[in-house]
């Protein structure tokens, strides 16, 4: 019987208090939907098969989902606190009418359960729709370049249900504590009370600043290491949590501090527009600070995903030409313990001849070795993979790989042939050049594999190896530069005993054939396929690894796959923008609802409509700028990680990342400003309307 009564009460109170519940439910729905979408996407088999970034993206998506999950808790607590504060008089009334406070707990539980039900159902429904939409669009963009199996997102749904059940349980516990702790009178009056003042605003601000500084330092640390940030995912996650926590602390404690300081300045405080704004801000300082912090964090998410999207788009367009610079490229890599198998080389040349491509092909034999570099001396005799070398490397807080260099040794004859020059080299002299401008200017001498020191030849003009373009052995993100060394004879330079050197992969031999094709795309494709099938059958695969590809073939695949990734990145950006806008809207609406009675009184006391406008404008100014500026700061300090991540997956250099950071900040500022303008109009309308007699 009681259950029936309580259920009826719960349902009717939700319906009757619609204006209060709707913002809370809406926030919950959005959170649930976003969490579900991100989690489901991270488990989708389609995503995993995206190029280079595919695996990293799965990790990224999963971590974003976890972050959203954790962020939901303080945010929903914030919306729930506002809700409870306005409903407390109702509970006080029930108490007066005869329902004991302990007996009201089941009522509270049923209300929370009902809210949870609505939230989870709508959230999953909307989330699944959007997820399916995103996934199928993604598949279509990738043009069947991947194998797709129907993805059951039950796992994601299950996790969403459990996690948000846990969240709503926390909300229920918060409410119950408040219900039981406060006396009936307090409950009836609670909507009038200001927020409880923070006991130690100064201490909290200092702690917040400390955590923030540590997080920024950690970000630089991760971003400066010469490896992909995915190797440090735990650190990244921790520093993101640190940024979130410190943002909340700074906004809540900071706004209190700010208001207190402003109030102490009487000349400033007792003017019409400052007086009302500052006192109302102080009155709801906790919730105000939480609201602003939530907006700031979401804005940071938006900025990060937008920057990623723009940088990726930009990087993709140059990716093709840098990864596949030649129309047709055949690369033979000698396996460990061997040099280049000459019979294989002959097979390749015969195949090319049979297709009539000998004149269009240029070949190069090279050997690569990762060497040590310090104080102007390149030392090829050092074994950089040995423990002693690793121990001797300088220990810096922000480690970089400046002490390593990837040497590519080529013969003088090949070089002269390719660059059409006639350079000669004396004994004990070598020629060096690098794709990175100005890198080789500081090199003084080179120590060969056998320990012999070589001088560097300097001539007026050393034509660069523009004829041949290679992929770097190391991605740009690693920070290890590449350097060509031209020697009279490769094997004598490296020493005849190659077995010893290649036994631990110290030196790798490559023979590369780069062919330019001047026929149509379809013909290029067919030629490439024909050559590949010929070589596959005739090459000795034991001694060498073969790769043969046409740029045409790769370009289609690459554009399809990268298009898919870009689409995904923009979808996620859009989702975050929507969330941030909704939170701004929610904040304005709920505050408008609370402030309308205050403005009513003020109007009676003599505040004109103009006065209302100027007060509100000042209020909006204070609350508008702070989140976007802080989030811009977060973006700035998180850029190193973003750069390193992109530089490991695709082409990205520092100028691209700087430009895209600025672009995404400007783009989002415009959106943010428009949302604020729009929502402030509805805030004004709500206040002004209620005030009109």
């Amino acid at each position: 019987m009681k259950l029936k009564l309580y259920s009826k009460l719960a349902v009717s109170s939700i319906i009757k208090n619609k204006p209060l519940f709707i913002p809370h439910i809406l926030s919950g729905v959005i959170m649930t939907a976003v969490f579900f979408i991100l989690y489901a996407l991270s488990g989708s088999s389609a995503i995993e098969q995206l190029p280079a970034g595919g695996v990293a993206l799965v990790v990224l998506l999963k971590y974003s989902a976890i972050l959203i999950g954790f962020f939901s808790i303080p945010f929903l607590i914030y919306t729930n606190t506002t809700l409870f504060k306005n409903r407390a008089p109702e509970f006080g009334l029930y108490n007066v009418l005869g329902i004991g406070r302990i007996a009201m707990i089941p009522l509270l539980f049923l209300e929370n359960l009902l809210t949870y039900g609505i939230v989870i159902f709508s959230g999953l429904f909307i989330g699944s729709l959007l997820f399916k939409l995103a996934e199928t669009s993604l598949i279509r963009i990738m043009k069947g370049n991947i194998s797709y199996s129907l993805h059951l997102d039950l796992a994601a749904a299950f996790v969403t249900v459990i996690w948000y059940a846990f969240t709503f349980l926390i909300l229920f516990l918060c409410d119950s504590v408040k219900l039981l702790k406060n006396s009936t009178v307090d409950l009836l009056q609670t909507s009038h009370y200001g927020d409880t003042p923070l006991r130690h605003p100064k201490l909290s601000t200092v702690i917040g600043l400390f955590i923030l500084t540590c997080s920024y330092l950690a970000s630089f640390w991760v971003g400066s290491r010469g490896e992909s940030p995915t190797n440090h995912s735990l650190t990244c996650f921790n520093l993101t949590c640190g940024i979130i926590i410190s943002t909340y602390l700074l906004f809540v404690a900071g706004s209190i501090y700010f208001c207190q300081k402003l109030q102490q300045n009487s000349e400033f405080y007792f003017t019409p527009k400052h007086f009302i704004t500052i006192s109302s801000l102080k009155h709801r300082m906790h919730r105000n600070g939480s609201g602003l912090a939530s907006i700031c964090i979401l804005a940071t998410f938006v900025l990060l995903t937008l920057t990623f999207s723009f940088a990726f788009y930009r990087g993709c367009s140059t990716m093709l030409s840098s990864h596949y610079p030649n129309d047709l490229s055949i690369v033979m890599q000698a396996k460990e313990d061997t040099s280049i198998d000459n019979s294989n080389a002959e097979t390749i040349e015969k195949t090319l001849e049979s297709h009539g491509l000998t004149s269009q092909a240029s070949s190069l034999l090279s050997a690569t070795a990762t060497s040590a570099y310090s104080a102007g001396i390149i030392d090829m005799s050092a074994n950089v993979y040995s423990q002693e070398f690793q121990n001797s490397r300088p220990k810096k807080f922000f480690p970089n790989n400046d002490d390593l260099v990837d040497i590519r040794v080529i013969s003088l004859d090949d070089y002269n042939k390719l660059c059409k020059t006639d350079i000669t080299l004396d004994d004990n002299t070598v020629l060096i050049m690098s794709k990175t401008a100005g890198y080789t200017d500081k090199v003084l001498s080179l120590v060969g594999c056998d320990g012999h020191t070589y001088a560097i030849k300097t001539t007026d003009t050393i034509p660069p190896l523009t004829e041949l373009k290679y992929n770097n052995t190391y991605p740009e993100g690693s920070g290890i530069k590449e350097c060509y060394v031209v020697v009279p004879d490769i094997s004598s330079f490296l020493g005849t005993d190659v077995t010893g050197k290649t036994s631990y992969g110290y030196v790798t031999y490559y023979k590369e054939y780069d062919v330019s094709l001047s026929v149509s795309k379809e013909d290029q494709l067919s030629i490439g396929n024909a050559i590949l099938s010929d070589l596959e059958s005739s090459i000795d695969h034991i001694s060498s690894e073969l790769s043969c590809a046409t740029r045409v073939e790769k370009s289609d695949k690459l554009s399809g796959l990268s298009g898919g990734l870009l689409f995904l990145a923009f979808i996620v950006s859009l989702i975050f923008i929507l969330m941030a806008s909704l939170i701004i809207y929610y904040k304005q609406i709920s505050e408008g609802y609370e402030d309308s009675s205050q403005f009513d009184i003020m109007r009676k006391v003599g505040l004109s409509l103009n006065g209302i406008h100027s007060t509100v404008n000042f209020q909006l100014l204070l609350t508008f700028f702070s989140p976007i500026i802080i989030s811009g700061l977060h973006l700035l300090f998180l850029t190193p990680i973003l750069y390193r991540l992109l530089a490991f997956s695709i082409v990205c250099n520092k100028s691209i990342i700087i430009m895209t950071t600025i672009l995404s900040f400007c783009t989002y500022s415009i959106i943010y400003f428009s949302v604020y303008k729009f929502t402030s109009n509805s805030y004004l309308k709500r206040i002004a309307n209620k005030s009109n007699p």
């Binding site: 009370y193 007086f275 006192s279 205050q598 009184i601 009676k604 006391v605 003599g606 004109s608 006065g611």
Partner: protein, 260 residues
């Protein structure tokens, strides 16, 4: 020239269908001299709050006009109304209408802040009011931390601090216990003795018996008027009671009688 002149004031509330128009004020005319202390009494629904809202310039009448020191309210444009209200009128409401976001001191300063008064002037005026109001100790508290009587006294301070021409009080003792009510009414007497004009709408006979002149409103028109003359509070109380009895009965049209 009277301080306040109400001429043929009419207020008709018509619904969208125009079938049931409610006449809240039916041709009310009276005048108020400076230094008068008027109580307006009547049943609920008789139109007293409407009358007060009209005098407070919170509502526009359907016809007729109101003149404060010769200035016609109805001619003042909307955007200047608030400033006019701030400078010439002071309000005391039944439910205090203090802002939760401000301390009592800040609440009292509010109309002066809106007028851009300098801080030292605000402090000077408040210090002059504190002794008679007895709120010196609670100035830094918030409204929800003090009792009803203290809140109402703060509200009176807020009404007085602008040195208004007229104080309008809508059921000021309605939410107070009898002792706080007595204190408030004594306060009103005090400020009236200092020359402040007060118009008070009230249900309470004991409150009305503190006034100098009582207007009785029935069906949107003035039914009767009583002047105190030399009567004491108790005698006035009796007279008011008797009038109310007549008022509550089915008396036909309003008759104006000058009391003894």
């Amino acid at each position: 020239m009277s301080l306040l002149e109400v001429n043929s004031l009419k207020k008709i509330y018509s619904s969208a269908f125009k079938s049931n128009a409610v006449t809240a004020l039916n041709n009310i005319s009276f005048s108020v001299e400076e230094g008068e202390y008027i109580a307006i009494m009547g049943e609920s629904g008789s139109g007293k709050s409407t009358l007060l809202n009209a005098i407070a310039a919170l509502d526009t009448p359907t016809s007729g006009n109101i003149l404060l020191k010769g200035t016609d309210f109805t001619k003042i444009p909307d955007h200047k109304m608030a400033a006019f209200r701030r400078s010439h009128l002071g309000f005391v409401f039944q439910d205090f209408h203090l802002l939760d976001t401000l301390t009592l001191e800040e609440n009292i300063y509010l109309p002066l802040v809106l007028n851009n008064t300098p801080l030292h002037e605000m402090k000077r005026r408040l210090n002059a009011l504190i002794p008679s109001l007895g709120i010196g100790r609670i100035l830094k508290n918030y409204p929800y931390e003090v009792s009803g009587g203290q809140k109402q006294r703060a509200a009176v301070a807020r009404a007085l601090i602008t040195y208004p021409d007229l104080i309008l009080a809508d059921e000021p003792t309605g939410a107070l216990d009898s002792r706080s009510a007595d204190e408030l009414l004594n306060l009103f007497n005090e400020i009236n003795e200092n020359g402040q004009t007060i118009i008070m709408v009230t249900h309470s006979i004991s409150a009305a018996s503190h006034a100098n002149r009582i207007l009785f409103i029935k069906d949107g028109a003035i039914f009767h008027q009583i002047y105190r003359g030399t009567a004491s509070n108790d005698e006035l109380y009796n007279t008011i009671s008797k009038t109310l009895t007549v008022l509550m009965s089915k008396a036909p049209s309003p008759i104006r009688r000058i009391a003894n």
